[in-house]
């Protein structure tokens, strides 16, 4: 059992270092943070341990409001993600919503096959497995499963954005104040984010048009 406790000690020690360094850099950091939050971005990403949003984006605490689940999937009947969106868009008034998929996604890879992952995960992954059926001919033409999993990850980001566009708070904020939606893919093998240029509603407010 000792080693299990060590793993927890490690987090506690890591947290002490974080608290100390943050206070050293800026003695007011925590009193500022305790006043409240005003993040500009709602980040919807995968629960995968290799995609910690704040670290990979070089962001600081307070920058990104975050929801992470299996395969960054937004589903119409999911009250969990819908509540996050409602709070972020209506109450915190974020300016952007980012859905981030990634390469080597276990959920996307599992969606290429019919392995029984248990009733819970089978149900959750169903909308992603449906993408395989609806895009069969396109996926069949790809050279290997890695390429197919990546394409499913992209399609899944697109699908999540399509569901988000129907959320009442998002519809209203897009119209009233130019909230924008963006799809990105994080490449785990290179550590880099790539914008999906055909994913969002960005053209609606002129953002991400061709550089001029």
């Amino acid at each position: 059992m000792a080693s299990y406790q060590d793993a927890i000690d490690r987090l506690v020690a890591g947290n002490r270092v974080y608290a100390q360094r943050t206070a050293e850099r800026d003695p007011n950091a925590f009193s500022e943070l305790s006043k409240g939050q005003a993040p500009e971005v709602l980040w919807i990403g995968c629960a995968d341990s290799r995609v910690p949003e704040t670290t990979i984006c070089g962001c600081r605490p307070g920058d990104l409001f975050v929801h992470r689940n299996i395969a960054n999937s937004v589903q119409g009947d999911d009250i969990n993600a819908a509540s996050v969106v409602e709070y972020a868009v209506t109450h915190l008034k974020v300016k952007k919503v980012v859905v981030c998929g990634h390469t080597k996604c276990g959920g996307a890879a599992a969606s290429l096959g019919d392995a029984d992952l248990g009733v819970m995960l089978n149900t959750w992954l169903h909308p992603i497995r449906e993408l395989r059926r609806t895009h069969k001919s396109e996926l069949d033409r790809l050279p290997d499963d890695d390429a197919r999993a990546l394409r499913v990850a992209e399609l899944n980001v697109q699908q999540s954005l399509d569901v988000l566009k129907q959320h009442p708070a998002i519809k209203k904020a897009v119209n009233d104040r130019g909230l924008s939606l963006h799809g990105v893919i994080y490449d785990i093998g290179h550590g880099q984010l790539r914008l999906l240029d055909d994913a969002g509603v960005k053209k609606a407010n002129g953002l991400w048009a061709a550089p001029n």
Binding site: N15, A29, Q37, P52, I56, N80
Partner: protein, 221 residues
């Protein structure tokens, strides 16, 4: 700000994320050329973190962990609802497929979700989600009503909410069966405080809690 200025500002803040990401990736590669190749091979995190969506509590940053070390679910007020397929899928995958050793439910003082749930107000789409926090209040009504200072009462509800969500994690078949077989995962309840940036361990007695829960919710067999 004019419309044009707003757009320019938004573009810049968006560009900044991509620029910071590139810089971070280059730094990591310089420090360790194999860093990303290793990550590419797969993940084997020891921890599952269930925390709040609040932007001020990025789990990996406040615990000093790097990419690959912690599987993370974040939602409004770090709730684990029995009928929520989203969080249940995360717990299921983390326990049965990734075989995490520890599950940490982490709340935080000053939680907007908990505060919203204590406000007698119709919050529309948020009502069903936040009702779970009102249920926690009802379970501990006597204790909470006995705290006269409002800030203190609210802090205590944050703690009690974490404990209740730990209970909900322990009610699952995935945890009970894995623990019986392997002796892990262990469930922990923590609270993050903005005043000092430190994590407070609520010192949940996991085995005792599991035993109590299994009187009614036993799914281990």
């Amino acid at each position: 700000m004019s419309d044009k200025e707003t757009k320019k500002y938004l573009q810049q803040s968006h560009d900044k994320i991509f620029e910071s990401n590139k810089k971070w990736a280059e730094e990591m590669k310089t420090k360790n050329p194999e860093f990303f190749d290793k990550l590419s091979e797969g993940q084997a995190p020891d921890y599952l973190w269930i925390g709040c969506s609040d932007s001020r509590i990025p789990a990996e940053a406040i615990t000093g962990l790097g990419p690959g070390e912690m599987f993370i679910h974040r939602n409004i007020a770090n709730l684990v609802c029995n009928t929520d397929l989203n969080v249940m899928s995360v717990v299921n995958y983390a326990v049965r497929h990734l075989k995490v050793k520890h599950i940490i439910v982490c709340g935080h003082y000053g939680c907007g979700g908990v505060k919203a749930a204590m406000t007698p107000q119709d919050l529309g789409l948020l009502n069903p989600w936040l009702r779970n926090i009102r249920d926690v209040y009802r379970l501990h009504e006597q204790e909470l009503d006995g705290i006269t200072d409002e800030a203190e009462r609210y802090d205590r509800l944050v703690e009690l909410n974490v404990v209740e969500q730990c209970r909900n994690v322990i009610k699952t078949a995935a945890i009970q069966q894995a623990y019986k077989r392997d002796g892990f995962p262990i469930v922990h309840g923590w609270v993050f405080g903005f005043r000092d940036g430190l994590l407070k361990d609520l010192k949940i007695d996991f085995e005792k809690m599991l035993g109590e829960i299994q009187k009614i919710y036993n799914l281990a067999d």
